[in-house]
Amino acid sequence: MGNRQNVMIKGTKDGFILKLDDRCGYELLKEELIEKLSVQYKAMDDQHAISVKIEAGNRFLSEDQQEELREIVKSQKSLIVDEIQSNVITVDLAEQIIRQRQMSTISGIVRSGQVIDVEGDFLLIGDVNPGGMIRAGGNIYILGTLKGVAHAGCYGNEDAVIVASQMLPSQLRISKYLNRAPDPVKNDDDLHEMECAYIDDTEQIVVDRLQVLRHVRPSITNYKGGM
């Protein structure tokens, strides 16, 4: 093992890639990283920052460890870690990602005082009554009347949308933006069509016909295959 290289440095036109061996101990890796960096790049003091990409292979790096590696690289004045890549993630994180990608469905009425919290997309087959609230990390689709509050993209996803068969919300929220319901226009009760709400270029939540959604948010389509 003695002269095996646990840290390999490759130069590319975008910067450096640090390839870290994924079988040696973490402490050993750290030592070798410090050593290599200090030997090789003393002469580059005056240059502008070079971006570094760390490839950890099949090694899991905890947040603390990642921070530590960033610090080590940063201690060389001209280097900055751009990205840390690893082939492994924790089960928790994997499950969280699954939840965020999943669509949860409820068939029923979200009544006053009830709060539905989902991490991914949400499909409601029923109404949201005034005082009821839906909070979703992704998009919200309501096959019914939205009379309460809907908050899509609640973890900061500004591309999230809210779709409802009847849009009569007391409040719409997407990511960090908020929109109070327009004062109801009477006498258009029979004109209702499906509507969608999204954030437009001016960072305002707008409500529009459902049909525009495919133009403003083409990424919603995830069907692969010919139509």
Binding site: I109, R111, S112, G113, Q114, D127, N129, P130, G131, G132
Partner: protein
């Protein structure tokens, strides 16, 4: 084994207690044995509406704490021989004097001897509400055609749906014809669509309901008042009869109908 029906609304002042008193009376008039329980501890008034105030000796808290037997605390309404009883609330304690498990035990006990147990729930969704629904296997939600009352009813329905109770049924109380006709008040369809639970009945707003309550004679005893008929119809529906909803509109005859009426008299 009888049914225990909790009568609740969330909002105060929509007529839970009046409804309890009148439904109890109307069911007793149908020959069923009824026990009314007032769970509004500290603010009791079901006894006042029934006119039984000055016959109370023991109350709900006395029973729960074992100071008396249940049958000692029950007040018999002499107007309905042996059919209508009231278990009054205590006026001196508060809601925390009773726990849901104790209520459940008490109601289960009473279910053996009565056909119907109507539980008058206090306003709110706190301890008193939890006590009131603990023993019930059915629920009636009372609301009025006002946005605030409907909002609270919606909340209560949501809470009731999480309990091991049959789906709640709705009574719309205090309907004022002229406001509903002019569109200044929520109409019945709007309310039932919004809450989407079964409508058990509608009761019109009537001054006589208040006078009757003040006298301690539930309006349901009056044979020809509109509100009274509404309560009696609801009672019959609870007993399983199918009775059409009362029509609200006073029939206005057109000229043609008047003419027909005149002709047919001849």
């Amino acid at each position: 084994m009888g049914d225990a029906i909790v009568i609740t609304s969330g909002k105060g002042g929509v007529g839970k207690t009046t409804t309890t008193a009148n439904l109890g009376t109307a069911i007793a008039m149908q020959g069923k044995k009824v026990c009314l329980i007032d769970t509004d501890i500290g603010l009791r008034n079901l006894d006042v509406i029934l006119g039984l105030e000055n016959r109370i000796i023991y109350d709900l808290v006395d029973v729960i704490e074992g100071r008396c037997k249940v049958h000692q605390a029950l007040v018999k309404d002499k107007r309905f021989d042996d059919l209508l009883y009231l278990l009054p609330a205590a006026q001196t304690s508060d809601k925390s004097a009773v726990a849901p498990a104790q209520m459940k035990e008490l109601v289960d006990d009473l279910k053996q001897d009565y056909d119907y147990i109507l539980i008058d729930c206090p306003a709110g969704i706190e301890q008193g509400y939890k006590n009131a629904i603990a023993g019930a296997n059915k629920a009636i939600v009372v609301t009025t055609p006002e946005r605030s009352a409907v909002r609270d009813a919606d909340r209560i329905v949501g809470l009731l749906e999480q309990e091991q109770i049959d789906p709640p049924m709705l009574i719309i109380n205090r309907i004022r014809n002229h406001l509903m006709e002019s569109g200044d008040m929520l109409d019945i369809d709007e309310i039932t669509n919004h809450l989407s639970i079964d409508l058990l009945g509608i009761v019109v707003d009537d001054d006589q309901v208040i006078t009757a309550s003040n006298k301690g004679e539930p309006i349901a005893m009056n044979p020809d008042n509109k509100a009274s008929i509404a309560y009696r119809n609801i009672a019959k529906r609870i007993l399983g009869e199918s009775i059409p909803l009362m029509s609200l509109t006073e029939e206005k005859k057109t000229f043609f109908q008047k003419l027909l009426g005149l002709l047919s008299k001849k």
